[in-house]
């Protein structure tokens, strides 16, 4: 068994860890205290582990931690801190999910929010169909998706919401 000393930049903080070859990125992040990314299906289907790697949405359970050595990772913990009020103020995406009842148990929410952030960074004004297509990789077993799509759609119409999402 080989181990690797790796450095990751997580939400702007430099972090080091010693990981096994087989350690998944999501487990490495959670062991470092970033428990926003959730371990859900573990088969690459549910998207609860979604984080951004070098600015792109990625499922952290289908990447090895050592594969991402030296890269910039953003987790949901980093999102709230990006608004004017620092970490105490929710990011517009989080605020809108809250307002629109886009979550019930909340387990899928960190991944859903990170996938939404990636979508709005690439396309600030997506159609409803495009929203559904873009969130295809994120499963929610509570809401039936309607309120999630509503939330993202209202963000799409609110041009200021894309700001702060990079």
């Amino acid at each position: 068994m080989t181990t690797h000393d790796i450095t990751l930049t997580i939400n702007g903080e430099r972090e080091t860890a010693t990981v096994e070859s087989r350690t998944l990125l999501v487990h490495a992040l959670r062991d470092l205290g970033y428990t926003g990314p959730k371990v859900g299906c573990e088969t690459g289907s549910c998207g609860a582990c979604t984080v951004h790697v070098e600015g792109e949405a990625v499922k952290a359970c289908t990447r090895l931690a050592v594969q991402e050595e030296g890269r910039e990772i953003r987790t949901v913990e980093g999102l709230a801190g990006e608004g004017d009020g620092g970490g105490d103020v929710l990011h517009p995406i989080q605020e809108t999910f809250h307002e629109a009842h886009a979550l019930q148990c909340g387990y899928c929410t960190p991944g859903m929010v990170m996938a939404t952030a990636d979508l709005l960074e690439n396309d600030p004004d997506p159609s409803r169909e495009s929203i559904r297509e873009s969130l295809k990789g994120n499963r929610c077993r509570c809401t039936g998706y309607h309120n999630i799509v509503d939330a993202v759609e209202s963000l799409a119409m609110d041009s200021s919401a894309g700001e702060g999402a990079d």
Binding site: S21, V58, G137, Y145
Partner: protein, 299 residues
């Protein structure tokens, strides 16, 4: 779920990767299939050779004659490439359907073809587009035409110590892809890819491939023969000429001679019944230039 233990190597160039592969193990690129296989303990290679950071294997070089795509180029990069969409629309259309945005951000075209999933989107598109796969191995480099690449479920003409380096795809005038999404896996339960050039306003050099219903993508020679030479206008209206409709109806028969593929959700016979409708849609997509379409609900 944790993968079994393995040693991880990140070679600095292709020749180092080949040397490492000669000692056993599997190639890791985007990992979007391999990691899931590892976690399910369907494979236990002992060594992973990560080629994901080899810059010489990445990138798109698109021209009017065709496109070269490095093996570690992601699906997202293909979908976003205006050159790919214009020169080889069938490939862009198929790449657009792979997995979901997160998977498309990391999964790679070389990995997809080497994986040869019967329900994969790229294999039939690569076959219809007459792709040539460039491979590096201990004995040097060689090329494999897509017609000779796919041998069966997860089986290709690649040797275990060989590495896909790039794909070369000639440009085509029209290309369309259509698939029925597998309601459980999100893969292609049935898929069809159609490519042709337009000469004197008629179909020329038609290549039609089917996936999902067979263990490996196959060409539908009967359909190809019938649409060859047909005026494009005859394919653009409502309803195809009778002989083409008949050839589409027989698309399932062409699958029977191969290795029919099915699973507990959708039998091989069900898939073969669906196939003609998707070949028809792929032809329509090639004609109207929309590139792709999908049937079924994703959730």
């Amino acid at each position: 779920m944790y993968p079994p233990e393995f040693d991880y190597y990140r070679p600095g160039d292709v020749s180092e990767a080949i040397d490492l592969l000669s000692g056993g193990g599997r190639v890791l690129s985007g990992g979007q299939s391999l990691l899931t296989e590892l976690k399910a303990r369907q494979t236990d290679p002992g060594r992973l050779i990560d080629v994901g950071r080899l810059e010489s294997l990445s990138g798109i070089d698109a021209g009017s004659e065709g496109v070269r795509i490095g093996a570690t180029t992601t699906y997202a990069e293909c979908v976003d490439s205006a050159g790919v969409r214009e020169a080889i629309p069938v490939f862009a259309a198929a790449a657009e359907h792979v997995g979901d945005p997160q998977v498309r951000n990391r999964g790679t075209v070389g990995g997809n073809l080497a994986q040869a999933d019967p329900e994969g989107d790229l294999p039939p598109a690569a076959l219809a587009a007459d792709a040539t796969v460039h491979v590096a191995g201990p004995d040097g480099e060689r090329t494999i035409p897509a017609d000779d690449l796919f041998e069966g479920e997860n089986r290709t003409a690649l040797e275990s110590e060989e590495l896909v380096t790039e794909l070369v795809l000639p440009a085509h005038d029209a290309g369309g892809y259509a698939r029925r999404i597998h309601p459980a896996s999100g893969y292609a339960m049935v898929s069809a890819a159609v490519v042709f050039d337009v000469e004197s306003e008629a179909v020329a050099g038609a290549r039609v491939a089917a996936g999902g219903a067979v263990e490996r993508p196959i060409r539908l020679a009967g359909v190809e023969k019938t649409i060859e030479g047909t005026p494009v206008a005859d394919l653009a209206g409502n309803g195809f000429p009778t002989e083409i409709g008949n050839a589409l109806d027989r698309a399932g028969d062409e699958v029977d001679d191969e290795l029919p593929y099915g699973d507990r959700h959708a039998s091989a016979s069900h898939r073969r019944e669906l196939l003609p409708a998707y070949v028809e849609r792929a032809i329509e997509n090639a004609i109207d230039g929309t590139g792709s379409a999908e049937g079924g609900e994703s959730r």
